[in-house]
């Protein structure tokens, strides 16, 4: 075991960690907002519901890698896109990868949130209506808090999954942890050590995230603590 090499590699990989976290946090935030909008569209009527269904079908039925490539390599095909004000963003691999991650995350999160909304007791919504709460107040005070608590265990899996999915950003040249690992392997041909180093970095992060989310779960729903298998 070449510990000097391992620790050197570890610090090199650590340089990509901020970008990994950045992608994960922003894609979860953007995906969360979009997922909420999709659920509001679903509640708005037949057309909105069909749109949400189709969106979820599209993004859950195809691989994230193809979505990233479609945005990064594909959008530039259209002169309309190249001439639009969005082009300075859409020609950057960072924004393309982030956009793909957001759109992808929104589909999964929308389904999780839908399950959460279904678990909100009808009576609670009716009571809020009877008190004269507006739609937005109702969402903020009644349905969303209940739905989020209900959806949190499933959402924890989605957070972990998104954190791992950021590795795909390396396929469009982004130098996050996996991208750096890949470059180091081409430079040194020591695939096993370097990729294992990266794996340890991801593993420790996902374990910490899991732990933190479980704490959040017990904090938000203390009456359920210990009851969940």
């Amino acid at each position: 075991m070449d510990f000097a090499f391992l620790s050197e590699t570890f610090f090199k990989l650590l340089a990509g960690f901020p970008l990994t976290v950045n992608l994960a946090v922003l894609s979860l935030a953007g995906g969360g907002v979009l997922a909420l909008l999709l659920n509001m569209a679903r509640a708005s009527g037949w057309l909105g519901a069909r749109f949400a269904d189709f969106y979820v079908f599209l993004f859950r039925g195809s691989p994230l890698l193809i979505q990233i490539f479609l945005i990064y390599y594909g959008l530039g095909n259209f002169p309309a896109v190249r001439e639009s004000f969005l082009w300075p963003f859409l020609r950057e691999p960072y924004w393309c990868a982030l956009l793909a991650l957001i759109l992808n995350d929104a589909a999964y999160t929308a389904e999780i949130l839908r399950g959460g909304f279904r678990a909100v007791p009808r009576g609670a919504v009716e009571a809020a209506e009877a008190c004269g709460m507006s739609r937005l107040t109702r969402l903020r005070r009644i349905t969303l808090p209940v739905a989020i608590r209900q959806a949190l265990p499933a959402y924890s899996n989605e957070v972990i999954s998104m954190f791992k999915s950021t590795a795909l950003a390396s396929t469009v040249t982004l130098m996050e942890v996996t991208g750096i690992a890949r470059a180091e392997v081409s430079a040194t041909y020591r695939a096993i050590e370097i990729f294992l180093c990266a794996a340890v970095l991801y593993l420790v992060s996902t374990l910490l995230i899991t732990r933190a989310l479980r704490l959040l779960e017990t904090r938000l729903s203390p009456w359920l603590a210990g009851n969940r298998a």
Binding site: S62, G76, I160, K164, A181, I192, A198
Partner: protein, 239 residues
């Protein structure tokens, strides 16, 4: 933008035949990986349910590790790491390089390991959903372990596990796109090549996405059918 739909056809300029073959490779990698996952998942669920302490700890470690590492990294590890091991072994035997390993094998093993970790949880949940009474009854009539597994546990657990297994299968198909990094010519790789040589990336990546959507939709219907079949003669679940 005008698209030449002939490009997807089977004519002289058409990419139809190669795309179809690539779709076949995608299905083949996915099926191999999924079956490996079934074997690993069953063993792992068995270890978690009936194993002694070290066996249980090993099974637990396997699921935690495989679920905590990005799929892409696992594939890299198996493909590039595998090449490194083969080159080292070849060098020890005094063979001359270059050495290479099959992208199909490395990819299928990597995805099979990932899927096995997920399937273990599905099988474990399904086992726990079996009514205890039916296990006790089987023991009372004197069934041996294997007979009990075949007649009592497997039929009931599989029926509960079908929806979960369906989800795992869908993830396997989508993960199989990552095997393209090894150079294996499956759907993802083939559309990338087509996109490059025709300079029509949007068209071909969209076509690739549609191929995946077709595969996931058809297999979704198959799993739905299997679920209905496995529940024939039972009262539907009520909420």
């Amino acid at each position: 933008m005008d698209y030449d739909w002939e490009l997807l056809g089977f004519g002289p300029d058409g990419w139809g035949p190669v795309l179809l073959r690539a779709a076949g490779v995608t299905v083949a990698v996915s099926v191999t990986a999924f079956l490996l996952g079934v074997v690993l998942g069953t063993l792992c669920a068995w270890a978690k349910i009936g194993g002694n302490r070290p066996v249980r700890a090993a099974a637990e470690a396997y699921t935690v590790i495989l679920r905590g590492i990005p799929d892409l990294l696992v594939i890299y590890l198996f493909y590039f790491g595998g090449r490194q091991v083969v080159a080292w072994a070849g060098g020890m035997l005094g063979l001359q390089g270059p050495f290479d390993i099959s992208g199909f094998a490395a990819g299928a093993i990597a995805i099979g390991l990932i899927s096995g970790a997920g399937q273990a949880e599905v099988f474990r949940g399904a086992y726990h959903a079996i009514p205890v009474g039916s296990l006790e009854a089987a023991r009372v009539v004197g069934m041996r372990r294997f007979l009990m597994f075949r007649r009592i546990i497997a039929p009931q657990a599989l029926s509960t596990a079908i929806p979960g297994l369906g989800n795992q299968w869908q993830s396997v198909i989508k993960e199989s796109a990552l095997v393209s990094v090894t150079g294996l010519v499956e759907t993802m790789r083939q559309v990338t090549v087509a996109a490059g040589s025709t300079e029509m990336p949007f068209f071909f990546f969209a076509a690739g996405a549609v191929i995946y959507l077709i595969i996931t939709s058809i297999s979704g219907l198959v799993f739905k059918g299997a679920e209905l079949w496995s529940q024939r003669g039972q009262a539907p679940a009520r909420l």
